[in-house]
């Protein structure tokens, strides 16, 4: 009950905020336009400077918030990573890698080796880091 009430409240606020951001964005573009027009009409640059300053500040602010909310929605996806299983024949040390299957575990004995008829063993189950993670974890320069 409380749950529902607060989520609709939150939605109301965020739509209001979004509307305000879009209006600010439009107004800032108008301000810049009017400012440039004023320069051509009057030849003085005072009004133009004011309007341009206000326009650019408002545009920067609304752009910042827009980008931020965009970033948040992009972050919401939870991606499933790829899990790999390494299988090894102890005798002839042949290594193969395949996708993880349910029921796999490290040191589980599975089907016979194609060469020596000996049992093969799972020696590792791991996930490869995503490109994003690799980028994040570059060794610190300091």
């Amino acid at each position: 009950m409380t749950n529902q009430a607060n989520s609709t409240g939150a939605n109301k606020i965020s739509t209001l905020v979004m509307a305000a951001i879009y209006i600010t964005l439009i107004l800032s573009i108008v301000a810049i336009g009017v400012g440039i027009a004023a320069f051509y009409e009057t030849g003085t640059y005072e009004v133009t400077l004011y309007l341009l300053a206000i326009g650019f500040i408002a545009m920067a602010l609304s752009g910042y918030y827009l980008l931020q909310s965009r970033k948040h929605t992009a972050n919401l996806k939870i991606e499933a990573p790829k899990i790999l299983t390494t299988i090894e024949c102890v005798k002839c040390s042949i290594k193969t890698t395949r996708d993880f299957q349910r029921g796999d575990y490290v040191y589980k004995e599975i089907e016979k080796c194609s060469k020596c008829e000996d049992m093969q063993v799972i020696t590792a189950i791991y996930r490869e880091p995503t490109a994003k993670e690799k980028e994040k974890e570059k060794p610190a320069a300091v």
Binding site: I78, A80, Y126
Partner: protein, 380 residues
Amino acid sequence: MINPLAQSPIFTNQFGIGSGDPVLTILSLLSYLFIFVFIFYGQRIQMYVMIREVENSLFKLKLMKEEGRKTAVETIKEIGKPTTDPSSKVDRYLDYFTISPQNMDPAGIVNKLDHILDVRDQRMKDEVKLMAPASDEVQVYNLENTLEAAMALNFIYKVVRHYYLQGKKTLSLYTIMQLQMILPMVMKEAEAYASALKAFAYGQPIGDGAGPLIAARIMHGQEVHKIPKDCVYAEVPFENRTALVMKAEGPGGNVGKPGEAVQYLLEEYKGKVTAVVMIDAGLKLEGEALGEIAEGIGAAIGGPGVDQFKIEEAVVEQKIPLYAVIIKEDIGDAVSMMRKEISDAADKAIERIREVIKERTQEGDHVVIVGVGNTIGVGQ
């Protein structure tokens, strides 16, 4: 009428008021308004921005929590083949709580905590068996871990929501600010649990399993004995010494009770053991490499502290030195699927253990090697 502002040259020249141009006058008044609004309402505006940020995270936490519940229910349905819909039971389980013992008079608190944790553990397992009657022992362990991760997500969501609602209700900048400051860390932990959930549901090894993985690598191929509680050990010839290697019994999601197991081994081999080496995943600092190995002294084990206490008691009784080798990873890596770097670090860690034992013990000695952590997805 004389415009008083027009008398002042500063206002006339630099701020445009009184210059006669109506556009300029409006603009300068607007900019004053802007300044005043920011002076008096700046904090409030800042607070709304923060509330919005917290709201975004809360929404994400809610998605994660629901995803967790869904994964738990689906896994139970798939593995446990229940006759009725387990959803309501799962919901009840998600709100399950544990009250830690009173610590006003701390003597004997370890036993109380130990007992309470035992009762909790048993209760959880019974509940899972009821929910998923078709599951075998390994699957019960994995399902229990899956539900625990879902519980953690549920709890995080509720706590963050509590402070968010309270902050919004009282419009207290400091409540909201504190919440917003710790949110990055909270979110990191929540994300880790969300990915742990999948690992638990499928029975994949997690980063915390580094200790058991290393123990398994040393003991693999030897005769394995069960010891209390939920642990296994093997006698392994190691650098002309005898290593008693132990870990939690796999491959189900299980940490066992290494405290009791070490007590048991030291009792069984009384007077023979000359060193105890513990291997565990340790928290890395930001900037340190994942899978780095570090070495130290003391009982390398996390959790509520009961096992650490028991191990310390046991080694102190016989005056046995206690060494620790840790594999560095961050909280996210510790509870999500094991990364390749951690899996690859196992051989390096074994080398390190070899060195410690060669330097610190004599040939023919007995040493205990303990692989601490959740052994999900790691057999022996």
